[in-house]
């Protein structure tokens, strides 16, 4: 069963391009349009090995809130926080911080590194 990446990003084009890049390397990508959707997926028992989350998104939670909550309930899931402006708080305390803009290939390399898997770009 391939590794699952949960991707929470409200900019649909960024989400689609990053998702396609990760899928092109054989990963399963779950696309969430905001933090609430990503949380509902986790609560439904959906599989996630790594989460890539934007910070500022519509809904009741920011990406930082989502990752903080996820660390409490699902400590095994590794986190990457993506933002051009993370706002208050230190994203590096919650996971790997990936500043925007980033190269899609670098994001895929990071996913494989966190998964501890050979291969990738």
């Amino acid at each position: 069963m391939p590794a699952h990446i949960l991707l929470a990003e409200d900019e649909v084009l960024i989400r689609a391009l990053l998702a396609e890049e990760l899928r092109s390397h054989g990963l399963v990508v779950v696309e969430a349009a905001n933090a609430d959707e990503a949380w509902a997926y986790l609560q439904a028992g959906g599989r996630a090995d790594v989460i890539f989350s934007d910070v500022t998104m519509p809904g009741t939670m920011t990406g930082m809130d989502l990752v903080r909550r996820m660390k409490q309930h699902y400590p095994g899931v590794k986190a990457v926080i993506m933002s051009g402006n993370p706002g208050p708080g230190n994203p590096a305390e919650l996971g790997v911080f990936m500043p925007k803009p980033y190269r899609l290939e670098d994001a895929a390399k990071l996913a494989f590194k966190l998964l501890g898997l050979p291969g990738g770009p």
Binding site: V12, A16, V30, A38, A40, Y41, Q43, A44
Partner: protein, 124 residues
């Protein structure tokens, strides 16, 4: 794979959208995902991601279908009023799909969606 048809799924609920999208990917399609009509229109405007078929579930699909017919002629629109119907239409697309063998029956997609939704409701 890069030459296979591209389907855009428009579905508000991730617990429906993701299993549907994965099923169609396993049937050999390239699949884009939008959570609403606004996201769908952004993806349809990308010339480098040409969409052949739009599969939309729920009431929002009707407005989107009219907009697509006016602005993106050549894109086939499939409207499904319910999740069950959306899964059935995905099954029909899979029958016509680029893969030679169906990965699994579409009824299993519906079962997976129902299980995920029940688990989410229990967690609320």
């Amino acid at each position: 794979m890069t030459d296979s048809a591209r389907i855009l799924i428009v579905e508000a609920d991730l617990l429906v959208r993701h299993p549907l999208a994965e099923y169609l990917r396993e049937c050999g399609y390239q699949v884009l995902e939008a959570s609403d009509g606004a996201e769908a229109s952004v993806l349809l405007a990308q010339a480098e991601l040409p969409v052949d078929i739009v599969l939309a579930e729920g009431d929002a699909g009707f407005e989107l279908a009219a907009w697509i017919r006016a602005n993106h002629t050549g894109v086939q629109v499939i409207l499904a009023g319910t999740v069950t119907r959306a899964v059935e239409r995905a099954g029909e697309l899979c029958e016509d799909g680029p893969a030679l063998v169906k990965p699994y029956e579409h009824k299993f997609v519906l079962e997976r969606i129902k299980k995920l939704m029940a688990a989410r409701d229990r967690a609320k």
